[in-house]
């Protein structure tokens, strides 16, 4: 933020280009407001209007985003926000993730008696937060976006108000999340104190221009910012909130969190990481130290995620740990990101692939869950392939994709990610990673064991799959396989996104 000495007209007017690139944000924001107003209509009709508005908003957002091909990075609001291919790419991901979550939640909310329009409104606002998060170039914007997203999600996590576990999850998430935000903010403050700016890029400029300005306070600031992100992406040892929250949250919310939230956190992390110059531009020593920290974090995260997931019997919680494990793989991308050609592109690709398969998996779980999110223990899945072969097949595809078995998106992404790590010379890390993923195969396959190799227990309950959810699951299966078989396009998009940043 520049000191405001004179009123500069260009700050108050916006060029056509700027308005164009801001369209997705306007659409979502407008949609959210309309939906909020629309929720007044709930007396009229309990669920449809807001649902339709939300879905329309999200798809309109997707449509606008896809149609938007910025010629180059556009900086907005005096350098506080960027609209470039990177943010555009991630916006699409968030919007799609939200759209699918909404589609899947529809019948779930009915069943749980939670059909409140606020649900959709909150999702819209959190999506807006995510979108801003992925485009923030200033710490304050980043903070606001983060809080916009988080606050909405805190509520979503506790959405099953009468449920003790939901409450607990929301409370834990809220307290730890707020504390972490505060730490991040404190770090920002320290950086501001050292550099006189809250612009992310400004920090690194200073560190490069005046190495003498790099004081322990500055370093502490950086550390606190990084800490904030490590918390948000749930890297070990800052992962502990995640399993509890994922377990307690309503299933579709968990699905939304593992994809949208995680993708947003990583998107911002990528941007901050690169703009802070932690990867490039900083001195050798800095790079080495961050490398070491990420290395340790990555290994810890992979090990804890995978090994603890081995012992889980609740599917939701198992996927929570698996989500931690995937964070670990992504951190491998951070460790090596800039030293190899693909680096962050591979990471970006992985985020997307992960989002696809996780959305799908949680969509299936949503369909399978019984009243009050019960029925998600492993043995509840016994003989699913008999009861509902298509759902079982879909879930298998998602799980195998998470396990990284070809020909799925998970494999292609993992291949790209680890391949870039090998290029960066991180062979030992990759070996640890693949061994961990071998461990992971065990618990993913265990689900298949229950679905395919055990006989159904009890009387087969009829599963009603709404058309919305059906479409969502089918779309994810197709995407998982498509990205797995022909990853080239996705790789190119991811590459373009990262280069455009």
């Amino acid at each position: 933020m520049e000191p405001l000495k004179t009123i500069r007209p260009e700050l108050l007017t916006m060029s056509e280009e700027q308005i164009r690139v801001l369209m997705p944000y306007f659409v979502v924001f407008g949609g959210a407001i309309v939906a909020m107003l629309g929720s007044v209509l709930k007396k009229l009709s309990p669920k449809w209007p807001v649902f339709i508005i939300t879905l329309a908003t999200l798809f309109a957002g997707v449509w606008v985003s896809i149609g938007l091909i910025p010629e180059g990075p556009v900086t907005l609001f005096n350098g506080m926000m960027a609209a470039d291919s990177f943010s555009n790419f991630f916006n699409t991901v968030f919007l799609l993730a939200a759209a699918l979550s909404v589609m899947v939640s529809f019948r779930y909310l009915d069943r749980e008696g939670l059909q409140l329009p606020e649900y959709n409104v909150l999702i819209l606002f959190s999506v807006l937060g995510m979108m801003l998060l992925a485009s923030a170039l200033d710490f304050i914007v980043l903070f606001i976006a983060l809080e916009l997203m988080s606050l909405a999600v805190y509520v979503l996590v506790g959405f099953r108000r009468a449920d003790r576990r939901s409450n607990e999850a929301a409370m834990k998430y809220f307290i730890l999340g707020s504390a972490a935000s505060a730490v991040l903010l404190y770090g920002t403050a320290l950086l501001y104190g050292c550099t006189g700016t809250t612009a992310i890029k400004g920090v690194v400029h200073l560190a490069q221009a005046e190495p003498a300005a790099v004081t322990p306070v500055f370093v502490l600031g950086v550390a606190m910012v990084v800490f904030g992100f490590l918390f948000k992406v749930a890297a070990a040892p800052f992962h502990m909130w995640m399993p509890d929250v994922y377990e307690g949250a309503p299933v579709p919310v968990t699905g939304f969190m593992t994809t949208g939230l995680k993708a947003a956190a990583f998107a911002a992390f990528f941007r901050v990481f690169i703009n802070l110059g932690l990867a490039q531009g900083a001195t050798e020593v800095v790079q080495r130290h961050f490398h070491d920290i990420f290395w340790v974090c990555a290994v810890l995260t992979m090990v804890i995620g995978n090994f603890v997931a081995l012992t889980q019997t609740n599917l939701k919680r198992m996927l929570a740990y698996s989500s931690i494990a995937h964070t670990g793989y992504l951190l491998v991308g951070f460790v090596t990101g800039t030293r190899s050609e693909l680096g962050f592109a591979a990471g970006t690709m992985y985020v997307v692939a992960y989002a696809i398969m996780n959305l799908g998996a949680f969509a299936v779980l949503t369909l399978l869950s019984g009243k009050d999110d019960s029925g998600l223990n492993l043995h509840d899945l016994s003989g699913l392939s008999r009861r509902h072969p298509i759902l079982a097949f879909a879930l298998s595809v998602f799980l195998l994709s998470m396990a990284g078995i070809p020909p799925t998106a998970g494999f292609a992404a993992k291949y790209l990610l680890f391949s870039s790590a090998v290029q960066a010379g991180e062979i030992s890390l990759v070996v640890i990673a693949v061994l961990c993923s071998a461990v992971s195969v065990y618990y993913y396959l265990r689900v298949l064991v229950y679905m395919y190799m055990h006989e159904p227990i009890g009387s087969p309950q009829t599963l009603r799959v709404s058309i919305w959810a059906g479409v969502a699951v089918a779309a994810m299966v197709v995407l998982t396989l498509q990205v797995g078989l022909i990853p080239e396009r996705m790789v190119n998009i991811a590459k373009k996104a990262v280069i455009g940043m």
Partner: protein
């Protein structure tokens, strides 16, 4: 034309085999009698005999130095420079073998039609028999080691199948397996020999190998004598297996579990002599290695002696003959081992005649006695089975070495060569001569216990019991064959066998008498005939005069006579035998139990390997490797369980972890930044 020789039996096998497999074996199909399958099989082998004879005549007319007929059928394997054709080559040596195999084979086939008349599955039997002839002919006709090996293993297979022919008796099946496995041990040596030959000479073809050697035991250039010795010994291991020499002879006595014609054909006349064939065929290797020669001779002589000791005490008529076969095979190897290959081959031929005769005679006795094989339960069959009696007598005399019978000539030739040849020694001669005495003794024992004296079994009335239509099933199925006769008719109604069985006996008897004249000392046709292939007999070592030869011959004749006469005297009075037996009970027991060799093998090789295998499986595969594998899983699980505990559920513990992580990160960075 050559290929017709093995092809006829193969065709016979295919006809009988397919007919059996699809027409007789399936449940509910009509069982065929022995007649038609037997006729097909006999016809096939006879046709091949005719062709063999034609080949022989053709060879007779050829120049001795190039006396051979060759035919390449097709290329079997061709990999890089390694090239094996399925090709036949008949020269002076193997023409004799083809004649014996097809000739004696025809007789035995003929005999089998009668013998197997009441068997349940004669189709199968004749198929196997023809298959055997096919394999045996491949063995002797093959022009290279791999083709020979094809036949070599093929005969082993047939031997296995035929020994275990009555497989419902598990002991017989086991005997078959034992034969196969022990033979495989031999084949192991054979294979190594082949590998060594190929890696040394680059070929496995007999002719090419022979050309590499040149003449008179000279070694090819650049090949060390040790390699030749190794090759010879490896191959000899194969021979030990196939030709039942110490230490691999153990399968042959057990092989008597098969039908008697099988014992006659495979385990006396043909298959077991293939070791001698191999050694003679590759004589240039052996002559190139004195060490190997002495090993062959020593093993041969010792086997001859050793088997004879066991034969003295056996009670089973076929077992006695089996040990006598082992012993005679020892003679043949002794002959080869002292360089008298032609003597060895000569003995193969005469032995084929008289041993086939003896076995078939024994078969006839067993047939007539309704499956009784214990000679102590026989006696006095002379009058009841006159044709069998007379032919058996001729066979016994031949094997004992009664002068002017076939066995005499061949055995004497070997004895003389064992003494006189450069690689021979008086010790070998002495051992062989002792064996000759023992042979005479136990064969006469067998003869007199079976045919002479009073019957030691209950004789049943002959009334209404004609052989051709027996009132009960005595279809040679040992599983339940025993004592059938006794159940229905009290005692045993002994009968002479039908002409179909005795005719071969008579023919073989004639051959046993006259077969030896082709090897008349000092005018031996056979030695001359074989000379181009196996080389001339070595000239007697200096200092051995012709008179000595006569003296030695006299000694051996005398020995045979002593053996025969003692045996007659002893076994005329059976109480005397029992008294004598009691005097040397320990020795008798050892001999009767065959020196406990089977038990020793069982304890030293079979059991330990089984126990060790079990240990490997349970103790290593499951307990170590698998435990490690499962251990990885366990450790993972354990790690998970342990790490999981940190996740206490307490909000504030989480917050503490955050703080710790933050302090750690910041500390590391601040410390490291400067």
């Amino acid at each position: 034309m050559l290929f017709w020789i093995p092809l006829f039996p193969l065709i016979g096998f295919l006809i009988n085999g397919i007919w059996y497999a699809f027409g007789q074996a399936p449940a509910g199909r009509k069982k065929a009698g022995a007649g038609l399958p037997g006729a097909i099989a006999t016809g096939a082998i006879f046709a091949s005999f005719v062709v063999s004879l034609m080949i022989f005549i053709q060879l007779l007319g050829q120049d001795p130095e190039h006396r051979a007929v060759e035919q390449i059928l097709f290329n079997w394997m061709s990999v890089g420079k390694f090239h094996v054709d399925v090709a036949f080559r008949i020269d002076a040596l193997n023409t004799l073998f083809t004649l014996v195999i097809t000739g004696v084979g025809t007789l035995i086939h003929l005999y089998s039609i009668g013998y197997m008349g009441h068997d349940e599955t004669p189709g199968k039997f004749f198929a196997y028999l023809n298959l055997f002839c096919f394999a045996m002919l491949m063995l002797v006709m093959g022009s290279s080691l791999p083709v020979l090996f094809l036949g070599w293993e093929g005969v082993g297979l047939c031997s296995y199948l035929l020994i275990g022919y009555w497989y419902t008796d598990i002991e017989k099946a086991k005997a078959g397996k034992k034969a196969f496995v022990v033979n495989r041990i031999g084949d192991f040596g054979f294979l190594l020999g082949m590998f060594l030959i190929y890696s040394t000479f680059g070929t496995l073809d007999f002719e090419s190998l022979r050309h590499l050697f040149g003449h008179a035991g000279s070694l090819p250039e650049g090949v060390s004598p040790q390699v030749i010795t190794a090759i010879s010994l490896f191959l000899f291991v194969g021979c030990m297996g196939k030709s039942a020499q110490i230490p691999l002879y153990v399968w042959l006595p057990d092989a008597m579990a098969g039908p008697t014609p099988v014992s006659a054909l495979i385990h006396a006349a043909t298959m077991v002599t293939s070791g001698i064939y191999l050694v003679s065929r590759l004589n240039f290797f052996y002559t190139g290695s004195p060490t190997a020669m002495s090993v062959v001779a020593a093993v041969g002589a010792f086997t001859a002696f050793f088997a004879a000791t066991i034969a003295i005490t056996q009670r089973d008529i076929k077992k006695v003959l089996a040990y006598s076969t082992v012993s005679q095979l020892g003679y043949m190897f002794l002959g080869c081992g002292v360089g008298a290959f032609s003597a060895g081959v000569f003995h193969v031929i005469t032995h084929a005649f008289f041993k086939a005769l003896l076995f078939l005679g024994a078969g006839s006795v067993i047939h007539g006695m309704h499956e009784e094989q214990d000679i102590w339960k026989m006696g006095g069959l002379k009058s009841k089975m006159p044709r069998t009696y007379w032919t058996f007598a001729v066979g016994t005399a031949a094997i004992c070495g009664v002068p002017l019978l076939s066995g005499f000539f061949s055995k004497d030739e070997i004895l003389w060569k064992a003494f006189s040849s450069p690689s021979g020694s008086p010790w070998l001669w002495f051992l062989a001569a002792i064996t000759a005495v023992m042979t005479a003794f136990y064969m006469t024992r067998l003869f007199s216990l079976t045919f002479l004296g009073a019957p030691r079994f209950e004789v049943a009335e002959h009334a209404g019991h004609s052989h051709d239509h027996p009132g009960h099933d005595h279809g040679h199925d040992h599983g339940h064959g025993h004592g059938h006769g006794a159940k229905k008719v009290k005692g045993i109604a002994v009968h002479e066998s039908p002409l179909l069985m005795t005719l071969p006996l008579m023919i073989l008897a004639v051959l046993s008498i006259v077969g030896g004249y082709v090897g008349w000392p000092h005018a031996s046709w056979i030695e001359h005939w074989l000379e181009p292939v196996v080389g001339g007999g070595h000239e007697a070592a200096s200092g051995v005069s012709e008179s000595l030869e006569w003296i030695l011959m006299g000694v051996s004749v005398l020995g045979a006579l002593i053996g025969i006469l003692t045996s007659f005297r002893v076994y005329r009075n059976l109480s005397l035998v029992e008294a004598m037996t009691r005097n040397v009970q320990w020795l008798h027991k050892i001999l009767e139990n065959k020196w406990y060799i089977d038990e020793i093998y069982e304890a030293v090789f079979v059991r330990p390997i089984q126990v060790f295998s079990q240990l490997l499986w349970k103790g290593f595969d499951v307990a170590v490797i698998d435990r490690i594998v499962v251990g990885f899983g366990r450790v993972s699980q354990w790690t998970g369980e342990t790490v999981r505990v940190i996740q206490t559920g307490s909000l504030q513990v989480y917050a503490l972890m955050l703080l710790a992580g933050l302090i750690g990160t910041a500390g590391f960075l601040i410390y490291g930044w400067h």
